[in-house]
């Protein structure tokens, strides 16, 4: 298939390397190295999308990342459908499938375009003003309808199958932008031996050298020099050159976010290659060489397909070998657009006229254009254009009043160049307005950075190279690298440049677009000012100018100038909207990196986990841990399994994996003194080999954590914490030791994962473990409840605790983690002989609730004191100090009316309350009811034969025996307030 607009001799692509692709189902060919945009243009296709609000046909505006119009969907397969891809950035590959967006039923015939007829109604602020009433309709009616009508691409419905990656990097000098400025700076900085990273968003560095036909550097054509410079940099061990990499965010202390695109340009991506890689680079010095962005002219109907930026047409011609039309006019207020006309004319393209808004454009470029037979219409303006799906005619008026129409299928426009100060501004640098050139330029720097070249307002090739070389060498030196040789690069270019023009050209009518992507016209901005918007931030929000995915790269200065003119204020007084990351859109995949699926966050498993898995256990998440929840046997549901496990523990025994329990070894001569300060209880008198239950408070007097502490030696304690509290308790201990009690000679060390913990609970527990234990007398007299011994279990060193969280005689065997599974299996084998079962966390919860033992974080919520929880007995009465001692005495903590932990029994014994349900005295009172408290724990108790619950109830302990109600959607549930212990009230079973 021929590419009628391809002029291979004009470009750098190999005409033999043909690539096939489709756009909206139609097959096309392009060349290797094309972008989707250049390949479409080679076929004369300009129409690629519909505008956001008015559904106007839109063409390709630019040849780069600033593109507001040419957004398409790229589809590889069902899961890989990327919306809103800029056709000007998407590299072509064989088999690429692209579709247009925001049109129905087709791009050429779009029903939504009728809204264009209603445009007078849809002006700025229309949505805000119109869809206000009734309020509920916004959510249900207006918003969904508006979203359907005005939209971008559609996200895929399947999970993203691609891989994304992350890399932290450090360097002396980070350079953003691989144009002539960035390459020069990189050469100079790396000459000096600095570690350099150069990031360039293009496939090949070179920047505007892609199209600047007249540039000569070191005796080479500019583009060839760029290739040579890139090759030289790549060969240096101290340089990392990143292609297809956008510096999208400039954060604190010279940290920049870069996104590297690795596979979107490949026909068949390498399976293990990540699609994108996020670079988080920390640089000692940053050199910004981000160039400038050309602005379009704002004039009536300036958005027709075929109207594009002059430099873009030059890039399509000089790099891709594509003429963007067959009769191309130019409308400009700036010198650089002449070069586009000249280059095109020289390649035989008809250029009927250059319409120059300025009265008297002068210079060699004007002469050259005239000498090539191009008519230069000075002091003229474009007052209208014609052509619906493609530009046909340009209507011109002169200052003197004559009018003329020119037939043209493309119109190149340029009103000047905007320095790309986005990253500088993100770095919190202050921009300064240069009134002479009407540009915001880097002013005061906030970080260790320098801007070079066009983004710094420097014009001309030679000054840019000189500035960049100096900045590169300076950055290397300031970063502590050596001094480089004095590199000199000889550069010159015939390209002209002038300040240009901001705002709308005279004669701008209704549809003179400022922001193409959000369909904001010059008139909309004037209307915003008329309606009282004074700051550019307000104008922006009212009109949405600059708020589309392109963030107004081509349009913001125009909008600002129009508002300033309306307000009669100079531009800097109107202000500038804030530049925020990202510079161009970044995928969620890149930001997530490896953090998805299995690597989303650590999944912690105990050494016994594989055994539980092999037994068909159902697991629950407890923080990052997976814990065996219950062990269903065939035919059992959760209720049946838990009931059986609970019954078995009390009748015979149960074996439970308690490895996740937090464990801290507290060692040092002041260990007991330290525990005295950290816990509410007293520890000095706890004998070696004995255990005690301890409560830990915050200074405000509320329960922070709890657990059993065993004394292994005079100066060594084995502290246990809740599973979820392990890390914060250690942090809490270190905090007090380092900052409040630094004189104490004691250190806490986390041993949670040193030990696998196998709890054996129930009347047969001692019989089960007896054959496995060596060196410890585990008889009731030698090892009573709440004691700890060190010995051996299954031949390995063990810490054996006689403790119980079930109310039964119980042991907790601690063995080094790698032995956990083998010891568990040995205990299991013994347990089988005694009718024991494995039980999970649900049965553990029920069993402890039957005994009224609290779980911190379930029965407490950060506002519960030991007194509230019925644990006053664990608070020492005569200690001079402990964390929380003063908080406990606060008037609101000692007064009446506190919510206290009580038991609840439902009148209907089978009814299990909902945890979190509210409790009231009178269920028939009007709403809002007076709530007395809430249910904290609630279960079916197989052992009691009725449901049990714990609850925090106002003055609960005084309400013993009182009838209260739990209002639920299907009626109030009557409950009786009881004590918290439901089973074995006297605690006789603990001792066998």
């Amino acid at each position: 298939m021929t590419q009628p607009f391809r002029i291979p001799a004009a470009g750098r692509l190999d005409p033999q390397k043909v690539v096939r692709f489709t756009f909206d189902g139609k097959s096309y060919t392009g060349l290797e190295g094309d972008t989707l945009a250049s390949a479409l243009l080679a076929h004369g296709v300009h129409l690629v999308g519909r505008s956001f609000k008015y559904h106007r046909p839109r063409g390709i505006l630019s040849a780069g990342a600033e593109e507001p119009n040419a957004l398409v969907g790229i589809r590889r397969d069902e899961a890989r459908r990327t919306p809103n891809v800029r056709a000007t950035v998407q590299e072509l590959y064989d088999g690429l499938t692209a579709v247009s967006q925001n049109r129905w039923p087709s791009l050429a015939f779009d029903v939504g375009a009728a809204s264009s007829l209603a445009a007078p109604l849809l002006s700025a602020g229309f949505y805000y003003k119109t869809f206000m009433w009734p309020k509920a309709a916004w959510e249900r009616l207006y918003e969904p309808a508006i979203r359907r009508a005005a939209g971008l691409g559609v996200a895929p419905h399947r999970p993203d199958p691609d891989r994304y990656s992350n890399r932290f990097a450090h360097c002396d000098v980070l350079i953003i932008g691989g144009g002539v400025a960035g390459l020069s700076a990189a050469l100079a900085a790396s000459d000096a031996g600095a570690r350099v990273i150069l990031a360039d968003e293009q496939a090949v560095p070179g920047g505007t050298l892609r199209f600047e036909a007249g540039a000569v550097i070191d005796g080479m054509p500019g583009w060839e020099w760029a290739l040579a410079a890139a090759a030289e940099l790549r060969s240096r061990p101290n340089v990392r050159l990143l292609n297809r990499t956008t510096g999208f965010g400039y954060y604190a202390q010279n940290m920049l976010g870069l996104v590297e695109r690795l596979t979107d340009h490949l026909a068949t991506p390498v399976p293990d290659a990540p699609r994108e890689r996020l670079w988080q680079v920390r640089a000692k010095r940053v050199v910004l060489a981000t160039g400038a962005i050309e602005r379009h002219m704002v004039f009536p109907d300036n958005d027709r397909p075929g109207i594009m930026l002059a430099s873009a047409a030059r890039a399509y011609l000089n790099h891709f070998g594509v003429a963007v039309g067959s009769r191309i006019a130019v409308y400009t207020a700036e010198d650089s657009a002449y070069a586009a006309a000249i280059d095109l004319r020289k390649r035989g393209v008809e250029v009927p006229a250059i319409i120059d808004l300025r009265q008297d454009p002068r210079g060699p470029h004007v002469e050259e254009a005239r000498s090539l037979g191009i008519e230069v219409l000075a002091g003229c303006m474009v007052v209208a254009t014609e052509g619906w799906l493609r530009l046909r005619r340009v209507c011109i008026a002169s200052g003197e009043g004559w009018r003329r129409d020119i037939e043209a299928d493309a119109l190149l426009t340029c009103s000047g160049w905007t320095p790309a100060v986005h990253l500088f501004s993100q770095s919190r640098g202050r921009l300064a307005f240069d009134p002479e050139t009407q540009r915001f330029l880097p002013g005061q720097y906030a970080q260790d950075a320098a801007s070079v070249g066009a983004c710094n307002g420097t014009t001309g090739l030679a000054p840019t190279v000189a500035e960049a070389l100096k900045a590169g060498a300076d950055a290397a030196r300031e970063a502590g690298a050596g001094a480089g040789g004095a590199r000199n690069i000889d550069a010159h270019s015939g390209d002209a440049w002038s300040a240009g023009f901001l705002g709308d050209a005279p004669a701008a009518g209704r549809m003179a677009f400022v922001d193409f992507q959000n369909d904001v016209t010059a008139k909309d901005i004037r209307q915003a000012v008329r309606e009282g918007m004074r700051s550019i931030e307000h104008v922006k929000r009212f009109t949405t100018t600059g708020m589309a995915t392109d963030q107004g790269k081509t349009s913001n200065p125009h909008g600002l100038a129009i508002a300033a003119r309306m307000l009669g204020k100079p531009i800097p007084e109107v202000g500038l909207t804030t530049f925020r990351p990202p510079y161009t859109p970044v995928t969620f995949g890149a930001l997530a990196g490896h953090s998805r699926g299995k690597l989303f966050e650590p999944t912690r498993r105990t050494p016994i986990h594989p055994w539980a898995e092999s037994q068909g256990a159902v697991f629950e998440d407890v923080g990052q841990w997976k814990r065996a929840w219950y062990f269903p046997r065939s035919g059992e549901d959760m209720h049946a399994a838990v009931a059986r496990e609970c019954r078995t523990v009390r009748e015979a025994a149960g074996i439970f994996d308690a490895s996740t329990l937090g464990k801290i070894e507290v060692v040092g001569p002041d260990a007991a003194r330290f525990l005295d300060l950290i816990y509410t209880n007293s520890w000095a008198k706890l004998g070696v080999g004995r255990c005690r239950y301890g409560i830990m408070l915050r200074e405000d007097g509320f329960i922070y954590d709890d657990g059993v502490v065993g004394r292994l030696a005079e100066d060594r304690f084995h502290v246990t914490t809740t599973t979820g509290g392990a890390a914060r308790v250690l942090h809490h201990m270190e905090d007090y030791l380092q900052t409040e009690f630094p004189e104490l000679k004691v250190w806490p060390t986390s041993v949670t994962e040193q030990w696998a913990v196998i709890a054996v609970q129930g009347p047969r527990s001692r019989d089960i473990i007896a054959p496995l234990v060596e060196g410890v007398d585990i008889s009731d007299t030698a090892m009573p409840h709440m004691s700890v011994r060190e010995g051996r279990v299954c031949g390995v060193p063990a810490r054996l605790f006689r403790v119980s969280f079930t109310g039964e005689r119980g042991f907790e065997i601690n063995v080094p983690a790698d032995y956990g599974r083998a010891v568990w299996e040995a205990v299991w084998a013994e347990g089988q002989k005694h009718g024991a079962c494995a039980y999970g966390t649900e049965a553990m919860h029920v069993l402890r609730a039957e005994k009224g033992f609290i779980i911190v974080g379930q029965d407490t919520d950060g506002t519960v004191t030991p007194g509230d929880a019925g644990l006053s007995w664990a608070v020492a009465k005569n200690k001079p100090d402990f964390v929380g001692i003063r908080g406990l005495r606060r008037p609101d903590l000692v007064g009446s009316g506190r919510k206290q932990l009580v038991g609840l029994k439902t009148t209907d014994r089978r009814k299990v309350l909902e945890e979190g349900a509210q409790i009231v005295a009178d269920p028939n009172q009007p709403v809002p009811m007076k709530m007395l408290g809430h249910v904290t724990s609630s279960y079916w108790s197989e052992n009691c034969g009725h449901s049990i619950a714990l609850a925090l109830v106002q003055d609960g302990r005084e309400r013993d025996g009182e009838r209260l109600f739990v209002p639920m959607p299907d009626g109030a549930v009557e409950v009786e307030v009881t004590a918290t212990v439901f089973f074995d009230e006297l605690g006789e079973r603990l001792h066998g």
């Binding site: 650590p602 031949g795 599974r821 083998a822």
Partner: protein, 181 residues
Amino acid sequence: MAEIARREPALEGRACQGQGISLSPAAPASRLSLRAPEASLAGLSQALSLDLPRRPKSSATKGPRAALWLGPDEWLVIDEEEADLAAICAAVPALHSAVDISHRNVGILVSGARAEEVLNSGCPQDLSSRAFPVGAASRTVFGKAEIVLWRTGEEAFRVECWRSFSDYVFSFLEAAARETS
């Protein structure tokens, strides 16, 4: 007498070889979390037969034994021949806390020309040999897990993490190692 239970180390059987990168679990070793004030260091160093390092981010090695500086009063001592480090320190009268953490930690060996960049996929520190030379050791983070990182050679690192994080850390390293750039 009960049979001695079989040891089942975490990451048993895991390994990953790639272009310029190799990942493998370290062999079981004995480990000690040692906390001590300045005044005790001479005695402890003597007992351990190596000079406990006092410079941040450094380590000292002697034969199969190494001591990694983790904080101004904290060291991770590793003995690859599984010497009873706790017993050695127990004989030192000087003030200290020695806690056996042999099973708490899991070691992962990361080596090869790409070791640095594979680790930098999750570790935010500057790992160039200028900033993190051979012998450097530091507690830090790798993705969402805490690790201790120790550079044992120009292209060799040892990662130590808690046992239950080892699957995450190893899998993350594998993902980064598999990546072609």
